[in-house]
Symmetry: C2
């Protein structure tokens, strides 16, 4: 790989991998298969666990361990589950009531539960049986004692920062490397010290600023989708890159047919940060719900509860082959999506730029 940093300066030795490319954890669209394929090919595959119960986590980790003997990354969210008042919940339903009518489904009396498990002792207990090489966190870090336990196994800790302040916060609390998540990135913004989205900067600005502020390695994320993008990020000072969107068409991903179709259509040219799918800003291709209710809806209840009513609309619409209410996660640069095995895509991303 052509880069200003020499190979020994990349993140690869720290993580025990050959290629300093991390497949970004993407909850809801991938599991053990994609992670194993990337890890087996020499990169770092990631298992997204935000939507897994402890039992499902155990099952998925067992599958992943059976598919690869290489290091992999297990990813968790560190949000606080909020209390949503009945008034707020009603307000969000009200905002969506026209869609319930149109799809001819009844809004439930109660807010349906939404599974977005923050990291906790139950997850930790499962992890203890697997002692993964790498664990990464979004929305901050778990408690110090939990972090200490993870580290006692030799597990390396990665965490996402969207500002220099967040990077410093994470480094002070023991992260081994920082994922600098540029504004271009798909899915949830990892921001946790601010809700002001004007603080979020593009990758080309964030990476050098975080590199200048920290002495630990920085992993660039957001908008990187080609060998040229990887080399450019390394030139900016990154010790590795994290890439998500480009892997969404790989056969090992569980990306739905509707989502795959959107990613390969003109629609993928226009994404937005939106809170309509979960209550927290996340980058999705702009579809009907984003256009009509978002991108940022004041009525959307706090993460993750906003996803409750949307899940009902989504299920009804998807049964008719309609993606109006589907979170079509994508970064701003979907040009790297390839319908090829993840190992082939990884090799392409790690190749000499043209």
């Amino acid at each position: 790989m052509r880069a200003t940093r020499s190979a020994r300066e990349t993140i690869a030795p720290l993580l025990g991998i050959d290629i300093p490319i991390i497949q970004a954890p993407m909850a809801g669209v991938q599991g053990a298969e994609l992670a194993a394929a990337v890890s087996n090919a020499g990169g770092l595959g990631s298992l997204p666990c935000a939507m897994l119960t402890p039992a499902a986590l155990e099952e998925e980790l067992q599958r992943l361990s059976s598919l690869t003997s290489k290091p992999f990354n297990v990813n968790f969210f560190c949000h606080t589950t909020p209390t949503v008042s009945p008034l707020q919940a009603r307000g969000w339903y009200q905002c969506l009531s026209g869609y319930f009518e149109e799809l001819d489904i009844d809004p439930p009396g109660d807010s349906p539960g939404v599974l977005r498990e923050p990291f906790g002792n139950a997850s930790l207990a499962v992890l203890e049986r697997f002692k993964p090489a790498v664990v990464s966190f979004h929305f901050g870090l778990p408690e110090a004692a939990q972090l200490d336990q993870l580290k006692s196994w030799g597990t390396k800790i990665l965490a996402s920062a969207t500002t220099v302040d967040e990077a410093l916060w994470l480094a002070e609390r023991g992260a081994d490397a920082i994922i600098a998540q540029g504004l271009e990135a798909g899915g949830h913004r990892g921001s946790f010290l601010t809700e002001d989205m004007t603080t979020q900067t593009g990758t080309v600005s964030l990476v050098p600023r975080v590199c200048a502020a920290l002495s630990i390695p920085v992993i660039a994320a957001g908008g990187i989708a080609s060998a040229e993008g990887v080399a450019a990020a390394m030139t900016l000072g990154a010790a590795g890159v994290q890439i998500g969107t480009a892997f969404l068409l790989c056969p090992e991903a569980r990306t739905s047919a509707l989502h795959r179709a959107a990613l390969t259509s003109e629609a993928a040219q226009h994404t937005a940060l939106t809170n309509v799918f979960t209550g927290r800003p996340a980058r999705s291709i702009v579809n009907r719900l984003v256009r009509e209710v978002g991108p940022m809806a004041a009525a959307a209840t706090a993460f993750p509860s906003a996803a409750g009513p949307v899940a009902l609309l989504r299920a009804a619409a998807e049964s008719h082959g309609c993606d109006d209410f589907t979170p079509l996660w994508s970064g701003q640069n979907a040009t790297g999506c390839r319908e090829v095995p993840a190992a082939d895509l990884l090799r392409l991303l790690a190749s000499e730029p043209q």
Copy 2:
């Protein structure tokens, strides 16, 4: 310079320069001195003309021509001057009335005129006497006949695009190269086919997408502030770069003391796209007006008229050494600002990445 493209593939020969770095035109903060210094050092200096009357344009071009015999760029805006109703003008004053009271100044009865000259035949007549090597446009392009006349002199035409659609539009109408302005860039967004700011993407995403869509050269702009940034942009496929913010501390720039102080303070870490200074989204360091009224104020009248009342507040506040109402233009990456002669900065930017 280390870059994937070989030297002959850069924008340099097309523009008759040695170093494929364009100093971004920055109206209000620089004139002939900065442009000449960059051109004399082998890059392409730019003269921003949006705030110049034809007489002032002539004077500034004469000064620039006396300071350099190298190619330079003359930059214009191509906006349509809007009609602002008395009701809209009153609404904007109303929104700012507390500040007029606080500063103890009278709002004028009429909306004060704001000088932001769109390109027209008067400018063309002045240019004919100088036949500059390069003319660049923001907010689109002038009429075809005007463009033809410029080109008949051998003048090369550059124009800013913030989306792939805009790049295609400009290329079809005869631009010789496209400035792909990533979301990180300071000052006015060049967008002209959309007002939807969710369409604006980061440099690391925009540059490869525009390169893939066009056969003419692409110049990367936004967040580039170091030799590493320049090399990264070239690796992404750019044939050159345009850099503004980094030059703002050079002695040849006319950047005010207040603006210089902001750029070297903690405040520069937080910029936002705001319409409060001119009515059109532009990136500034977040100061009091942006924080309290913006960043995007529905009441701000159309570009450039919103600047009228703000200019009065600004003048009063600045006379007390206060930057509350000063447009503190800056990109998202002010880390490249150096208080050194522009020639030294250009050499630094063009050097081998560390």
